[in-house]
């Protein structure tokens, strides 16, 4: 109950009229940017990061929480009304959501998505309140070898479970690790991979990397393949739900929350898997099974809740260990560090009031999202019709402004362009983005822990597996790599491992189906 008291203090600190205004601005800006086609939550957060420069940490967090939830909700609005999800976590929402919209039930689809997101986000944030301090208490006691093992484990999970071919995942990861090397070596101060540029000495700014890869990469990619005929946009009225819709939605919301949160809390590769599992589960449990595939409200309610609960869950490893597991939380980490806050085991004790303010802000942002966005939905839908040259020019404009404003160096816009081209290449050759971002962020942290562990042992490599937790994690990481290889060999029909994109995707799908039964048992318990 102590945690709730601290949360109440956090709410007290966050709930002033001025802060509520910042939260409202954040929600509106986040939704505005998130609704724009082609912009997912990670990109929305990265693009809007400069807006919070110069604010006090508390106000910046509150605005940030609004941007975060607004961006997430904006993304699902786009996928319901356009049937072309901006990011992988909205794929499942788009399936049933767009069918509902086509049947004239766009208002109900948006309503169940919004209310489901609110419920899942609120429950998820409350679960973070309970789990993050517990995990942080444990995390404080573990040594550098285990910490190193945790990072290795997180990287293996993110790279392997994300779908697509593993080779591409590992290429992305190591590309990210290479970018993470750029800059001054922490121990000796020697420049690495800086090409003699002093601007590169203090490491790459993760915001520039993220905005380059997400925003500029996307803009360049779209420019190369711009759709010549306009998309069909479904008009929408005021979101509302009938009694029947409520009856059919509330269980999927709760089940989606139960599935989504653990996937976010353990580093298991973002919201793609839990939204998929939630969709499968709702299809199995639905009373009107034949409605699935033709716009079943359960198929929107469940995955949307799972998506948001998983997003909330990512705050557990982020706050307690400083480990981001999704692209969005990676950008959040970058934002937190720009306020001099270094997430990690110490954070919960050293800067407890800031953490509780942040968590309280998440609750406030979530609530405001519901209040503001249900009435504003018809307005947001109009944004989908924005002329494409203006939309992508605007993205280029704000991406460059964000990169330039931080330290007013033209060189930073150049770096942005370089990472934009990397992002373009990754889209063309189907390299997943998340492992790269994780590599850039966790690479330096990993090296620090590695050198810490070996400094204690005097260079003896066996120090790396000197702790039991580390051994367990290495075994699990090895299993994650080996088991799919073995099962693939046992079932050669399920796809040749060099078929690339489509093959990798279908393998992931069948793995996930196998996991559904376990997941269902968990849910029933």
């Amino acid at each position: 109950m102590d945690n709730l008291g601290l949360l109440a203090d956090g709410l007290g600190a966050a709930l002033t009229p001025e802060n509520l205004m910042y939260a409202a601005i954040g929600v509106l800006l986040g939704t505005f940017v998130g609704v724009l086609p082609g912009i997912g939550p990670a990109m929305a957060v990265a693009l809007l990061l400069p807006v919070t420069f110069g604010l006090e940490p508390t106000q910046a967090f509150i605005m940030f929480a609004g941007i975060y939830y607004g961006g997430m909700y904006g993304g699902s609005t786009t996928s319901i009304l356009l049937n072309t999800p901006g990011e992988s976590s909205s794929v499942m929402t788009a399936i049933e959501g767009n069918k509902m919209a086509k049947k004239g039930r766009a208002a109900q689809a948006l309503a169940t998505a919004a209310i489901g997101s609110f419920i899942a986000g609120t429950i998820g944030t409350l679960l973070v309140v309970f789990f993050a301090p517990i995990l942080a208490d444990v995390a404080v006691t573990i040594g550098a070898p285990s910490f190193f093992a945790i990072i290795v484990f997180a990287m293996v999970l993110v790279t392997s479970l994300l779908g697509d071919a593993r080779l591409r995942g590992f290429i992305s990861l190591f590309l990210g690790l290479t970018f993470g090397l750029v800059g001054m070596d922490l121990n000796t101060g020697q420049p690495r991979l800086t090409f003699g540029r002093p601007e590169l000495g203090d490491r790459l700014d993760i915001v520039i990397v993220a905005v380059g890869i997400f925003a500029l990469g996307e803009a360049l990619w779209v420019a190369a393949h711009l759709r010549r005929k306009p998309l069909e946009i479904i008009p929408v009225g005021q979101p509302w739900m009938g009694k029947d819709d409520w009856g059919r939605s509330w269980k999927p919301w709760l089940r989606g929350t139960a599935i989504g949160f653990p996937f976010g809390a353990i580093p298991a590769g973002g919201a793609e898997t839990p939204t998929f599992l939630s969709y499968i589960l709702e299809r199995k449990l639905a009373r009107k099974k034949d409605e699935f595939g033709h716009g079943a409200i359960e198929g929107v309610a469940g995955p949307e809740a799972a998506n948001n609960a998983s997003a909330a869950g990512t705050f557990v490893p982020l706050l307690a260990m400083g480990i981001p597991v999704t692209a969005t939380s990676a950008v959040m980490l970058a934002a937190l560090t720009s306020y001099g806050i270094q997430p990690g085991p110490q954070l919960m004790t050293d800067q407890a009031d800031l953490v509780w303010t942040l968590l309280a802000s998440l609750l406030i942002g979530n609530a405001l999202l519901l209040v503001l966005n249900l009435p504003l939905a018809p307005l947001w839908a109009k944004l989908l019709a924005i002329p494409r040259p203006y939309l992508y020019s605007g993205i280029l404009f704000f991406a460059s402004l964000g990169a330039y404003a931080a330290s007013q160096r033209a060189f930073d816009i150049f770096l942005l362009l370089v990472f934009g081209m990397v992002g373009f290449m990754m889209r063309r050759f189907a390299f997943p983005v998340l492992p790269l971002i994780i590599g850039v962020i966790l690479g330096p942290l990993m090296e620090t822990r590695f050198r810490e562990a070996l400094a204690i042992s005097g260079g003896d490599l066996s120090a790396l597996w000197s702790e039991n937790l580390a051994i367990v994690l290495y075994v699990l990481a090895a299993l994650v790599i080996i088991v799919p290889m073995v099962t693939k060999r046992r079932r050669p029909a399920s796809g040749d491992d060099v078929t690339g994109g489509p093959g990798g995707r279908s393998d992931d799908g069948s793995d996930a189906v196998d996991a559904t039964d376990e997941e269902k048992e968990l849910v029933q318990r």
């Binding site: 086609p37 082609g38 400069p50 110069g54 604010l55 356009l82 071919a165 080779l167 290429i171 190591f174 290479t178 090397l181 121990n187 020697q190 690495r192 991979l193 360049l220 990619w221 779209v222 420019a223 190369a224 393949h225 711009l226 759709r227 010549r228 494409r388 040259p389 203006y390 992508y392 020019s393 280029l396 404009f397 460059s400 330039y404 404003a405 007013q408 033209a410 816009i413 362009l417 081209m421 373009f424 889209r427 063309r428 050759f429 189907a430 390299f431 690479g443 590695f450 050198r451 070996l454 042992s457 029909a493 060099v498 078929t499 690339g500 994109g501 489509p502 279908s506 799908g509 069948s510």
Partner: protein, 172 residues
Amino acid sequence: MSTQTVDPAAPAATSQDRAQYGVAALLFAIGAYTLYDATTLTVGFADPVGPKMFPYAIGGAMVVLSLLLVVATARGDKPEAEGGEDVDLTHPADWLTVAKLIGVLLITIATVNWLSWAISGAFLFAGAAWSLGSRTLIRDILVGIVMSVGSWYGFYVGLGIPLTPGILDGIL
């Protein structure tokens, strides 16, 4: 279940995505340069690991992965390019538009400190809109000026961050 829903890659297996060899070459170069760069570092005292080990491991892995990509490409691996709301993959890539955008960005980079964000930003917006097919030049420039001057004042007044005024020093 989804195996059936995805098109079998069998007919495509005979052709190769040759551009992917280029990617492999680039990755190989990155890995090799990382390894070379690591050799220029010196290991300090009382530092059992030193700054070299991670670059060696990462660069080495990159080289191995680039070779694996060559093997996979030779065996018919084909990437599935990313779709999206505004992406139409049925047409070949429009390189001219991409080149124009990169050119606009490079000009912006070259001029921003001299001409100030207010001018270069407006150029960036209008130039990018023109590259992407907008043909209402006057309107694009006006929108660009409103956005860049607006963001300059937004940063200055709202956030207290003065962006370099450049040649407009004293005017803004």
